[in-house]
Point group: C2
C-alpha cells in the first residue's frame, strides 16, 4: 500500500451544483397584451440587480432554464425566481400573472440521469425577505427513483416536507393531485425550495413543480 493514495475520482466529497444538475425552468404568463415587455423587463431588471450572479440563464421558446454554477445553489435559484416574479408583478399594475416553475436536482443530463457515485452537495435551508406580493400556488413534489435509491419508504420524505411546510409562514391545503400553498410569494418559494432540497438529501433525483398565481380575478376559496 502506498502512502497518500489519490482518492478515487467518483468518491469526491460532494458534487458541485452544476455536476449535480441543480437548477430550474420557469415561465412567466402575464395575462396582458403587454406580456413581452413585462417578461423582458422583469428578466432584465433581475440581471441588472446582480441577482443572476452564479447562475446561467438561457431562455428558449417555452421557458427559461436557470442553472446554478456555485453554492449556495438553492439560495441563488430561489432569490432569482422570487425577484423575477416580483419584478413582473410590479409591471402588471395589479393585473393577473401566473408563473410556472420546475426545480430539478440529481439529473444533470437530458433524458438519462447519470450522476454515478457523486454525493449530493450540502444543503442549507434558504431564507427570503418578504416581497409584499400575495401568492397562491399549486405545488407538487416528486422524488424519482432512477438515481440509485430504489428502496425505502418514498412517501415518508414527502410527508415530512409537507409537515415542515405547515410549520412555515404559508398556509398549506391538501387538494387533488397537488398541494396548495398560500402566503407571501417569498414564503411560497422558500417552502417549495426547502422541501425539494430537503428530500434531495435522501433521494438524489427530486423534481418539484409549482403554478404560482398572483392577482387572480377568481374568488378566493374559503378554507
Amino acid at each position: 500500500m502506498s502512502d497518500n493514495p489519490a482518492p478515487p475520482a467518483d468518491l469526491a466529497a460532494s458534487a458541485d451544483p452544476g455536476e449535480f444538475g441543480i437548477g430550474l425552468r420557469y415561465s412567466l404568463h402575464p395575462a396582458s397584451d403587454n406580456f413581452v415587455d413585462v417578461i423582458l423587463g422583469a428578466i432584465s431588471a433581475t440581471e441588472q440587480a446582480g441577482v443572476s450572479d452564479g447562475l446561467t440563464v438561457q431562455t428558449d421558446e417555452v421557458s427559461t432554464l436557470v442553472r446554478a454554477t456555485r453554492a449556495p445553489a438553492e439560495q441563488l435559484l430561489a432569490d432569482y425566481l422570487t425577484r423575477t416574479v416580483a419584478e413582473a408583478t410590479a409591471r402588471m399594475n395589479g393585473g393577473h400573472l401566473v408563473t410556472h416553475v420546475l426545480f430539478s436536482r440529481g439529473c444533470p443530463g437530458e433524458i438519462t440521469c447519470e450522476i454515478g457515485d457523486l454525493a449530493p452537495p450540502e444543503v442549507s435551508p434558504i431564507t427570503l425577505e418578504p416581497t409584499g406580493v400575495d401568492a397562491v400556488a399549486q405545488w407538487s413534489l416528486y422524488p424519482l427513483m432512477d438515481g440509485g435509491s430504489a428502496h425505502g419508504p418514498h412517501l415518508a420524505p414527502i410527508e415530512r416536507a409537507i409537515e415542515q411546510a405547515r410549520a412555515a409562514d404559508v398556509r398549506v391545503e391538501a387538494s387533488n393531485f397537488s398541494t396548495r400553498l398560500r402566503g407571501d410569494l417569498a414564503a411560497v418559494v422558500a417552502t417549495m425550495t426547502n422541501a425539494w432540497a430537503g428530500v434531495g438529501t435522501e433521494i438524489p433525483h427530486v423534481v418539484t413543480h409549482a403554478t404560482i398565481s398572483i392577482n387572480s380575478p377568481s374568488p378566493k376559496e374559503q378554507s
Copy 2:
C-alpha cells in the same frame, strides 16, 4: 370449502377510473387583456359540445380539476384538453396562449395514495383528430414509487415511452429537465397521454406535466 365463494372485494378485476384517481389539472394562460373571456368561452364551448360528458370539471383559483368517472378515461381526458385548448386558441386571433397541464393516475386522494390492491384499469391507446394548431411543449413524465412498486428499473418505462413518442407524429427533442414535443396540438396531447397511460400499466402512480405553448412570439429554435 364452500361453493361459489364471493371474491374478496380488493381483488376486483380492475378499478374504475374514479377509484384509481385518473384525471388532470390544467390552466389556460392567454397573453391577453381579454383573458377571462377567452378562458370562460373555451370551457363553455367545450361543455356545450358534449366533450365533458363522463368527466367532472371543477375550476378553482389556480387551475381546473378534471376527473374521469367512466372508461375510456384517457380518451375522454385527452379529448377534453385538446378541445378546450383549441377553443381558447381560436379565441386568441393568432395571439400567444400557454396551457399548463398535469395528468395523474394512481393517487386518488390528496397527500397519501391509497389504492390498496386495486388492479390498474385497462388502457387502450388514444387517438385524436388533428386540430391544425401548431404547438410546442415542455414535457416531463414521472413514475412515482409510493404506489407499491418500489423495485425494478424505473427509467426503463420512461425510455420506452420516449421511444414510442419518437415513432408518433411529433418531433421529440431532448432538453435539460424535460423533453420537448413539437407538432399538431392533438399529436402532442396524444403522445403525452399515451406515454403516461402506458407507464401506468407497470407503475400505479404516474404523473406527467406539460407546458404547451401556441403562437409564441419567440423565434423557433433550430434543431
